[in-house]
Amino acid sequence: MAQDVTERIQSAVSNNKVMIFMKGTASFPQCGFSAATVQVFEQLGVPFETADVLSDPELRDGIKRFTNWPTIPQVFVGGKFIGGCDIVREMYESGDLKTLVDSVMK
């Protein structure tokens, strides 16, 4: 089981240039931090994929172990874990997020 969820995470992260593990969906976020994170990527105007951890307890535990990170949302860009809501916002404000996203979208 544990193996399965790790593989699922790995494939979601490899197959999507921007992958967000969040509470709820992009249209109906269930947490303010998840909503704020989605909003950042909408403002950047880049395609992204989301996975709802609330509807999938195994994924919710699995992602925390995968990254050694205790909170949701969790964001991956270009297959690399970049952090949660605070880091995404900080990188957006500094312009680093746009640079990073542009570099993986090529």
Partner: protein
């Protein structure tokens, strides 16, 4: 959990760090923390946040629903003042 207890946990885990914690709902589970530490020098934001989460240990999983983190090196902190 009190903001003061959270501050102590972070200070224990990151000796010498300057820590400010605010309970922004007053409910004891949503916090905002500023952590300034020499140990953050040369580390990514992910590594800095992981260091703080590590210091909080089980408290992070059990008692804290949300923690907004700002992690700075002393040099970055000086620049912002």
């Amino acid at each position: 959990m009190l903001a003061e207890d959270l501050k102590k946990l972070i200070e224990q885990g990151l000796p010498g760090a300057h820590v400010e914690v605010r309970d922004f709902t007053g409910g004891g589970d949503h916090f905002e923390a500023l952590v300034v530490s020499q140990d953050f020098e040369g580390k990514t934001l992910v590594e800095r946040h992981q260091a703080v989460y590590g210091a909080l240990g089980d408290a992070m999983r059990a008692q804290v629903h949300a923690l907004t983190l700002k992690t700075l090196t002393p040099a970055q902190y000086q620049q912002r003042r």
